[in-house]
Amino acid sequence: MSCHVVHERQAERPRTLTLRAHPLRVALVGQPNVGKSVVFGRLTGRYVTVSNYPGTTVAITKGRALVGAEVCDLIDTPGVNALEGTISEDERITRDVLQSADADVVVQVADARNLRRALMLTGQVAAFAKPMVLVLNMIDEAFARGISIDVAALEAELQIPIVEMVAVEGRGLPELRDALARAARPHVPAHPSASDRAVWAHHLTERVRRVSTLSLAYVQEALARATRRPVTGLPILAVVLYALYLFVGVFGAQTLVKLLEDGVFGGYVNPASVWLADRFIPVPFIRDFLVGQYGLITMGLTYSIAIVLPVVATFFLIFGFLEDSGYIPRLAIFCDRIFRAMGLNGKAVLPMVLGLGCDTMATMTTRILGTPKERLIAILLLALGIPCSAQLATIMGILGGISFTALATLFAVVLGQMFIVGWLAARVLQGERSDFILELPPIRWPRLGNLLTKTRLRVWWYLGEAVPLFLVGTALLFVLDRIGALVWISAAGRPVVTGLLGLPASTSQILVMGFLRRDYGAAGLFQLAHSGQLSGVQAVVALTVMTLFVPCVANFLMMVRERGLKTGLVILGVITPVAIFTGAGLNYVLRAFGVQF
């Protein structure tokens, strides 16, 4: 009944002149990885991270768009495979948008190749009784794979406007703007069950779609095959990891860092600021605050800009390339068995690999996992073992300079520790793991424009997020040093730091700073190692402890937001001793066997 009333009210409303209390609100919905965020970006001019794997968007984004003479509010939603039955947390977010009064019009974005699945979703969206438009995106890819769709017949069947689109090239956007005014409630027969709807979608697809056996996308298909088969896939993985090491670990962490740290900062910025400070700042206290041992410029800026930034930037670039190529989900096939032992399934490879970019963002991405137990384990493992890009920077910078064995030892210990903790957590925690069912995106050649935009935004984000914390941390260190607390901290930490871990006493303060941001602590280690105060074994032990720490304050806050304060504190309470005792054990073993790196 209520649907009927809504329909009538719409019919009364004049079509041309629209006076609304608020702008027309348009929700973009659709299956994962069909390009909703690209359409959103094209319409609003606002960039939302776009990648080539399901689950890049896990929260809603709003933006304004001009459609004709009218302003619209656009809502980008997480991808959904279903809106009813068993749905994941990100799918629930989208369903809530559709249920609420937040959306006046729904634009369903679909992958033109997958019409059958798209229609199954259309059937479910129809149940929300909102006027809608169907966008068949990536029509060029469908065409290349020999798929053609009779749009007129489909329009006649569903009685809604249908727009063919290649969103990344902007093709079909004017048509979508026009179509918004004609949005209508779809004509979908009522289906008592999901399988009835599937049958309907199947038959409708058979009627309007032709698939020829001739595909022009054979290069992509050959690559897709090669990356998922063990015989070719594992060597490809090795090559990818080696390329990552060369580009980030050697070019970023050594060549660029040397250029910036010794060249730009050591050669110009720091001497110049010291010279200026000596000349113009008469108060020694302020002078030290800026350019002293714990100076904002000589320490804070040098750490964040010269040591961490080059690696973060090179990492984001290559990482964006991997994201957009569709490669990462294919790794899930290889990891499924290992992850299952830790109470997860192969799908968890997505948040884990994303964690290498930023653990805080990855913690949010755990929403794509099926059960609460899986999410908790993934969040725990992210915080425990996955070094984020900024920290990877310092690890590669320090250990890359020592030896490959040193680097391999660190990763072996950290991965081993993650496995043990994951294995235990899987047994201790209540609940189930979900089935491993993962959609593999097609392999695509990344678009340079998207790659550069994404990298630029991530670097800006790093500068905005991390640099202030580096400066705050440095200021804190300066104050602690002035009031004599650093000496006290070093003394208090001595039993653990010098005794258990076998590190120089000065590492205490660095470990303390590691609590604030572990890459900040690692940058401290970087300088210590650079000045020859750390032996190979000490560097490996110190970095292992630092890697196992909770990544940063932001990550902790995100854990609290996603899982509650109690869980956050428990995770912190588990991780800290694990980190210290692992370091102690490693120190003991390395020394007992007389290992030198």
């Binding site: 068993t86 992958d111 699945r117 199954m120 989900p329 192969g346």
Partner: protein, 88 residues
């Protein structure tokens, strides 16, 4: 649908028992407590869908209509197809 189901019940086999390259049509997705059927349904694995087994190790990968799916063996056990051995 039930007639289709009966007519081919003699050569219906679970996906987990199929060799690489096998083509077939899904005839049944066996119900499971934790919403396995729902999720497969949402991804297009429904009776009537045509599939090709692309790979069987280390995980099973199948092409269902135009969707490439990686699934674990347990899940593959629950999907029954009427198979046609690949002649290529």
């Amino acid at each position: 649908m039930s007639s289709v189901h009966l007519a081919f019940s003699s050569d219906r086999r679970p996906v987990s028992a199929l060799r690489e390259g096998t083509r077939g049509v899904v005839v049944e997705v066996r119900a499971h407590a934790e919403g396995r059927t729902d999720r497969l349904l949402a991804l297009g694995v429904t009776p009537g869908a045509s599939i090709i087994v692309l790979q069987t190790f280390p995980g099973i990968v199948l092409l269902c209509d135009q969707t490439e799916l990686a699934i674990e063996r347990q899940v593959a056990d629950a999907i029954f197809v009427r198979s046609q051995e690949s002649r290529s």
